[in-house]
């Protein structure tokens, strides 16, 4: 009754482990996956990924990307995945400052800025806990 959770970034396979339950940040909120979940392809937002196994919870910060659920395999493709305790408040503040300095004079620029802001705020929420 276990699902296999794999997180890949372009650099390496960050983690590959079995889990009972996985909670991941979709673009509009959290999404939980348990055994025998229906096949899903989804867009990830920035936020926290939680993997529960035997009462232990591993938490990671993921910065957007995609998820594919198939045959009890959960595959996350993200540009960045780091354990939550490595996210510091300073780094989050820096990301937030950088994001809010981006220009937003055209719709395209505004969209890019909003994305960066969302990612920075998600980092902030995790760092503040």
């Amino acid at each position: 009754m276990e699902i296999k959770c794999v997180v890949v970034t372009p650099e390496k396979v960050v983690l590959e482990k079995d889990a009972e339950f996985v909670a991941l940040p979709l673009y509009d909120g959290e999404y939980g996956i348990a055994f025998n979940h229906t096949p899903v392809i989804g867009r990830l937002g920035a936020g926290e990924l939680r993997i529960r196994k035997d009462g232990n919870v591993d938490s990671y910060y993921v910065a957007g990307g995609f998820v594919e659920v198939l045959n009890n395999n959960v595959t996350l493709m993200t540009s960045r995945a780091v354990p939550v305790d490595q996210i510091t408040k300073e780094a989050a503040e820096k990301a937030l400052a950088e994001a809010s300095e981006k220009p937003s004079s055209t719709p395209e620029e505004t969209e890019l800025r909003d994305q960066a802001l969302m990612a920075a705020r998600a980092m902030m929420r995790i760092a503040n806990r």
Binding site: P10, Y27, P39, V40, G42, F66, L70, R80
Partner: protein
């Protein structure tokens, strides 16, 4: 007497050079293994991405994305050249820079038979000190230079650059992005290639035949939020991975080029040491013979 000494000295210095080239060969071999491993892990990501694109396409998603569409007029062309920071890697940099310079001349309209390639505003970005000094010597001012890429290009760094290009392309500051780098085909084949990265020609890179078998044609996925919206997000991700792959390929090719060059240098040093050893022995022997004849002559004269 003097001759033997100088010959010995030369032999000694060649020996120490051989030691250095041999060490460099070993180092680049190790770097090459590391780079190869990284490329393999990058493949895991690109393969999955390509697979996902296929699944989405099977679900009937049609995508129109600004990155896939060329701009109506091509005025500003960005040329990115990936060279290495350090030399001693044979013809690696020479080949890239020759190619890059040719393309650059075409873009600036300096080649008579390729005037149709000329654009109003060509921009040059260079990665690697070798390329920077090459274009500096030719009095060509690059728009941006990068020297932070050694044998292991970091995703974070590449992503920053990629984001910069994406923003510039989407906001209309550049109309095309071209790249000149050394593509890695296999251990024994690497070649300088010139490719257009933006507008994107295809989604995901990887040979389709292999992936065809893996894709799950008969699985019905739920798409969150919708297949179109996910495809839209995949387009920039696909560009970033393509750019990252270029950097990885360049890093691997550089290490292979250095390995080959250093191996040849070591072998040459071996051959030189051999001939010099022979010369040293001969000169020592002739010296001894000369001394002996002198001695015998002296003894004869005393009789």
């Amino acid at each position: 007497m003097a001759k033997t000494k100088t010959l010995n000295k030369r032999r000694q210095s060649i020996r120490s050079i051989r030691k250095i080239t041999r060490t460099m060969e070993l180092i680049s071999t190790a770097c090459y293994r590391g780079a190869m491993e990284r490329a393999m892990s990058a493949m895991a990501y690109t393969d999955r991405l390509t697979n996902m694109v296929r699944n989405l396409a099977n679900a009937g998603a049609e995508v129109t994305h600004p990155l896939l569409v060329g701009h109506p007029e091509t005025k500003t062309v960005q040329l990115l050249v990936l060279s290495s920071n350090r030399g001693l890697c044979g013809g690696y940099n020479g080949a890239i820079l020759r190619r890059a310079n040719r393309r650059w001349n075409e873009l600036t309209g300096n080649v008579a038979d390729a005037l149709d390639q000329k654009v109003e505003n060509p921009l040059l970005d260079i990665a690697g000190k070798r390329g920077i000094s090459y274009f500096n010597y030719r009095k060509t001012k690059p728009a941006q230079t990068f020297t932070q890429f050694e044998d292991r290009p970091a995703w974070d760094e590449v992503e920053k650059i990629a984001n910069g290009y994406l923003e510039q392309y989407l906001t209309g500051k550049i109309d095309r992005l071209e790249i000149v780098y050394t593509k890695f085909f296999s251990m024994s084949k690497q070649a300088v290639v010139h490719e257009t990265l933006l507008p994107l020609s295809e989604l995901g890179s990887g040979d389709s035949e292999k992936d065809e078998a893996k894709s799950n044609l008969n699985v019905e996925y739920d798409f969150l939020p919708s297949a179109e919206s996910i495809l839209k997000e995949i387009v920039p991700a696909s560009f970033k991975t393509q750019l990252f792959k270029c950097f990885l390929d360049a890093a691997i090719s550089e290490q292979i080029a250095r390995m080959v060059a250093m191996k040849a240098a070591t072998e040459n040093a071996d051959a030189m040491i051999q001939t010099l050893t022979m010369a040293v022995n001969r000169s020592r022997q002739s010296q001894i013979t000369g001394e002996l004849t002198e001695l015998i002559g002296g003894v004869e004269a005393l009789k």
